[in-house]
């Protein structure tokens, strides 16, 4: 689905991954998220598909790839959820993938602090989109921001720093 062999001509390094690894990681993140969701608790604090989208979009630094990957992951995430209509997370992850790719093409996102901040910000961007869609389309008063969301964003950003380091192992060396 994704051309993992694509290489950007920009100065910032474009990372390539082993064939199929992106798809497998995305799929695994979705399954794991659904599996962990059954247990609630701490597992609910982390949004693994979002982290995967952010990571691969930033790493690939290609907006088209990023938005398509985000769309695919988001739609699957919606499909795996019971309550969400198809497209809710799809739209959010599409936008996150697109903007993450755009940001990744302009900034160095290899540093753990940069990744933490980037993940934190994209988490809230993602949440704003979700809240907006739910308010506008689903007529549900979803909050744009809150203490729980702050905690979630911090936890997700922290998990993201670790996860991104693990996913760096899937990169193919130039």
């Amino acid at each position: 689905m994704l051309n993992t062999g694509f290489q950007s001509e920009q100065n910032i390094e474009v990372h390539k991954f082993y064939t199929g690894s992106v798809v497998l990681v995305g799929f695994f993140a979705l399954i794991l998220q659904a599996f962990l969701h059954k247990y609630g608790g701490v597992a609910d604090l982390v949004d693994l598909p979002l982290l995967v989208v952010i990571y691969f979009s930033v790493s690939r630094r290609n907006p088209v790839t990023g938005l398509l990957f985000g769309a695919a992951v988001g739609i699957f995430q919606d499909g795996l959820s019971h309550d969400n209509p198809i497209g809710l997370y799809g739209i959010a992850n599409t936008l996150v993938g697109y903007f993450a790719s755009t940001v990744g093409a302009r900034l160095d996102t290899e540093h753990p602090v940069a990744r933490f901040v980037l993940t934190f910000l994209f988490f809230h961007f993602h949440q704003v989109i979700i809240a907006f869609i739910e308010r506008a389309l689903l007529n549900e008063p979803t909050p744009f921001f809150g203490l729980r969301l702050l905690v979630d964003s911090l936890v997700t950003a922290a998990v993201g720093v670790v996860l991104f380091a693990l996913l760096d192992k899937l990169r193919r060396s130039n």
Partner: protein, 313 residues
């Protein structure tokens, strides 16, 4: 562009799934909301366009219908006028017929006024009866209301009638209450005068004046009119008389072929006469034989009418 397409596609996908109030899918809601303004505008436009066209057609039809109705109203008004005229004529003729039926003892002839004298000083009219109808000079002419005048000229098919207001006309008359005799003379004005009433006679305005029969034209007891004003004069009182008959609106009149006295006040009679003098004590048959020409009303119905078979044309 791709981003917008992907997001839009997912928004549509969302809208297809999401249901709003009344279990309506959001995409259907949006579709309706998006199409309704155009549909409303189109509906408004076509309804107004249709309304304009319908209004134009209705207006056109209304004009034609209005013209037709106006013509119809005109015809109906004309017809109504004709019917009203006929009704008034029929009513008048009915009064004449009732009058004749109420007085079978008198031979009389119905006539229509067909003209008046061209001489303003002459108070005369013309009727459609003449010599061929056995109309003769000095026959009395009356209406159910009262005395009109007398025949002064007879032609084959017409006759000239001198009204009681003519200055050359005189009618033998008397007051119905006091039985004082006099003569009602025409003055050339609408108001004739009653003459030969001495100043000592107490005359009250409104007092009824009837024919006395002395002029041998009108039978006794016909209503002439009523006293208007009465003033002392030299040598006689000056008494103005309001004619009972409406001389200015004569249409149908009755020509008295004979001077047979008329019986007063029968049912269905439009003719107002003064109360007849009290009948004499002898039996009606004897009275009728002895006093021909002054038969009381109660007896006249039993007498063989002189006008039996007389036409009321």
């Amino acid at each position: 562009m791709l981003l917008a397409s992907v997001v839009a596609a997912q928004v549509l996908l969302l809208a297809y799934q999401v249901k709003r109030d009344h279990d309506v899918r959001l995409i259907r809601y949006w579709s309706a909301e998006a199409s309704m303004p155009a549909a409303r505008s189109g509906s408004w436009f076509f309804s107004h366009l249709g309304g304009l066209w319908t209004g134009y057609v209705d207006l056109h039809n209304a004009r034609k219908e209005n013209a037709d109705l106006r013509a119809q109203v005109g015809q109906l008004e004309l017809r109504n006028s004709q019917l009203a005229t006929q009704a008034a004529e029929a009513q008048h003729l009915q009064i004449l017929l009732n009058f004749h039926n109420a007085h079978p003892e008198a031979q009389m002839l119905a006539a229509q006024v067909i003209g008046a004298s061209a001489d303003t000083a002459s108070e005369t009219i013309y009727i459609n009866r003449g010599e061929d109808d056995k109309v003769k000079r000095n026959m009395g002419v009356i209406t159910p209301d009262g005395v009109v005048g007398k025949i002064v000229e007879v032609l084959p098919n017409t006759a000239e009638v001198m009204l009681m207001t003519d200055k050359d006309m005189g009618v033998g008359a008397m007051f119905s209450d006091s039985r004082t005799h006099g003569v009602v003379k025409g003055t050339g004005d609408p108001v004739p005068m009653m003459d030969y009433i001495v100043n000592d006679e107490k005359i009250q305005p409104g007092e009824t004046i009837i024919t006395s029969g002395e002029d041998r034209i009108f039978p006794k007891g016909l209503l002439v009119g009523a006293v208007g004003t009465a003033k002392e004069g030299n040598p006689f009182q000056k008494i103005q008389v309001q004619p009972a008959a409406r001389l200015d609106r004569l249409e149908d009149v009755i020509v008295l072929v004979t001077q047979q006295e008329l019986a007063p006040g029968k049912q269905g009679d439009g003719f107002r006469v003064s109360p007849a003098p009290p009948p004499p004590t002898p039996a009606p048959a004897a009275t009728d034989a002895a006093n021909s020409g002054s038969t009381p009303a109660a007896n006249s119905s039993n007498a063989k009418p002189a006008t039996q078979g007389a036409p009321v044309k």
